[in-house]
Amino acid sequence: GGGAETGAKASAGDSYSIGVVRFASSDPGSEGIVQSYLAAAKERGWETSSVDPQGAAGQAVGAISNFVQKQVDLIVVAVFPSDALAAGIKAAKSAGIPVVSIGGGTTDGVPVSLDFGRSNAKPLTEQMVKDTGGKGDLLVLGFTPGLPCVGREEELKAQLKETDIKVTRKEVPIPGQVEAGTEFAQAWLASHPKGSRPLAIWGCFDDPAIGAVSALRQTGRDDVLVYGINGTPAAVKAVKGGDMRATAYVDPATEGKRLADVTPDVIAAGTDAKERTLLPDVHAVTPANVDDFLKKFPGVLR
């Protein structure tokens, strides 16, 4: 009812009411973007309220319904795949409230999504292919249930198609991702001794990659290149210390601001706007550029 009218009336400079459905307090990637978005919204004088559904899709649907009750102007959802929130998105749509997703993809009722998967893997995977010269053995630490990871692995698969890289894939569990990274790397290292073929480990996010780094240190190996994604402090430190070859960083402040910038448009356009995907700025962090990187983003290690 009322939500649709508010949405239609809205224009830049108005005060909006925005509901944010986080993913889980334990997911730093989305948390960073949500927080900077909330900060940006506050700066612009919008009223916000956020809920943490602790990773449960059912709870997220509930949270969206609660925001529909509250008659907010826009709902932002983090990470949950947009087509796995059906009842919530439908309720929002019929109340005329558009939904923006961080990393969940667009669908009917979710006109805008910030990509959080495939784009993040691109520069770093290119780097990996270049480093290994397109041949060698690669240990992939993947996580199928997570949508961002699926996108990243798709990018990896696409880039590996033309190469002579032999892949061993392991599924890491969450929680327990770091330890699993260590275990899988250790076992893989045992059957891949130091030798002629280039060796690399690619994690679809930093945690298992860091686990792999731990395995390398424990076994005293320095012949394996490790790649991760997200640019967590531990990963950036490992890159700086030369233990890790590269990680990919997305600046939450930039992306949060990007979302805040499009917010008035999305609200104005309403639920039936054309679907579009926002691409983040992805920074590959390598030993070569890590100092410059840290100068640019001093907050990473803070």
Partner: protein, 336 residues
């Protein structure tokens, strides 16, 4: 009855502290419900135009429906004195099975749902057999069986979410309304009534309570303890599966870990509920009150827009105080 007469005599004799005792007894009995009332009153005062509306009431009940199913099912093993840690995984698996059957085999909705519930029954049966025949502690047994359920889930869906191409009629289960009230609310009320009758008005239910209260005594008076425990696991599995199906119909897809989050919330609701009206006994109404309290808490969080850390502190406090106030009062009653 004579007992009542005796009771009131004692009541009268201890005249000095009797008002205090009555107050404590009331708090002991209704403390948990009073906490819920306090929450509702506070929220009504804070957000009168949004919280205290019939729309929002329906919304909260609708949100309670799915967690209620799984928590009500869990109540049965808890009553017989067992734990079931596999319910989250069962819910995930049953959702995946239902969606896969509908998507890949083109099975009709009701057939697919029945198959999914069969999955729950089978898991419940396996749990029950491992616990009663292999004689494994229910915590380890259900943890193990639940882990195996994850394996089966991976085998079926490869870890990827299973979406539905034509999901309208399936979604209708969650979205459809009758007299302005969504179907899930009816489902919740209906099953609550059925399960309440089962636990309180049938010999099976009484046997379950007896087994939970004192398995040796139950066995000596002719209750087939093993069978009763097995049945409680089967009921629990079936309701976990139902939860998975409802969840899939609410989200329009099923994920390998979609139902996992309900494990702890179901335990929280059931244990919270065990402090409602009674002292540490699991019962159907209590569990329902637990689920609804948690849902109202969550609703309050969304409506007031508390900071994330407050959300956690609030949820934690709600649990501890909700149970603690009643318990403390009961202890006081016993002491005076």
């Amino acid at each position: 009855m004579t007992v009542i007469v005796e009771d009131s005599i004692k009541e009268a004799s201890a005249s000095s502290s009797s008002t205090a005792r009555v107050v404590w007894r009331l708090i002991g009995q209704y403390g948990t419900i009073a906490m819920l009332g306090l929450l509702i009153v506070t929220m009504t005062a804070l957000e009168p135009s949004v919280f205290a509306t019939s729309d929002n009431l329906v919304n909260v009940l609708n949100q309670s429906a799915i967690p209620a199913m799984i928590a009500l099912g869990l109540t049965f093993p808890l009553v017989t004195g067992d734990f079931d840690l596999s319910i989250g995984n069962t819910a995930s698996l049953s959702g995946v099975v239902a969606c896969t059957l509908m998507r890949d085999v083109d099975m009709s909705i009701w057939m697919a749902i029945s198959a999914a519930i069969m999955v729950g029954l089978v898991i419940g049966l396996v749990n029950g057999v491992v616990v009663t025949v292999l004689n494994v502690n229910s915590l380890v047994a259900t943890l193990g069986v639940g882990t195996m359920a994850i394996g089966v889930n991976y085998k079926i869906a490869g870890g990827q979410p299973v979406g539905l191409s034509d999901s309208e009629s399936f979604l209708e289960i969650s979205l459809g309304t009758l007299l302005g009230i969504p179907y899930p609310v009816y489902i919740m009320i209906g099953f609550t009534a059925v399960l309440w009758l089962l636990l309180n008005r049938t010999v099976l239910g009484q046997s379950m309570q007896a087994v939970g209260g004192n398995p040796v005594a139950a066995r000596l008076s002719g209750v087939r303890v093993e069978r009763v425990r097995l049945v409680s696991f089967v009921i629990c599995g079936a309701f976990a599966a139902l939860t998975g199906v409802l969840l899939a119909s609410r989200t329009g897809s099923a994920a390998v870990s979609g139902g996992d989050g309900y494990l702890l919330s179901a335990f929280a609701a059931a244990f919270f509920g065990s402090a409602v009206l009674r002292d540490g006994q699991f019962h159907i109404i209590g569990t329902l009150v637990g689920v609804i309290t948690v849902a109202i808490g969550f609703n309050a969080i969304a409506l007031t827009g508390m900071a994330t850390y407050w959300q956690y502190l609030f949820q934690g406090l709600l649990l501890v105080l909700g149970v603690g106030v009643g318990s403390l009062a009961r202890r006081r009653t016993a002491a005076t």
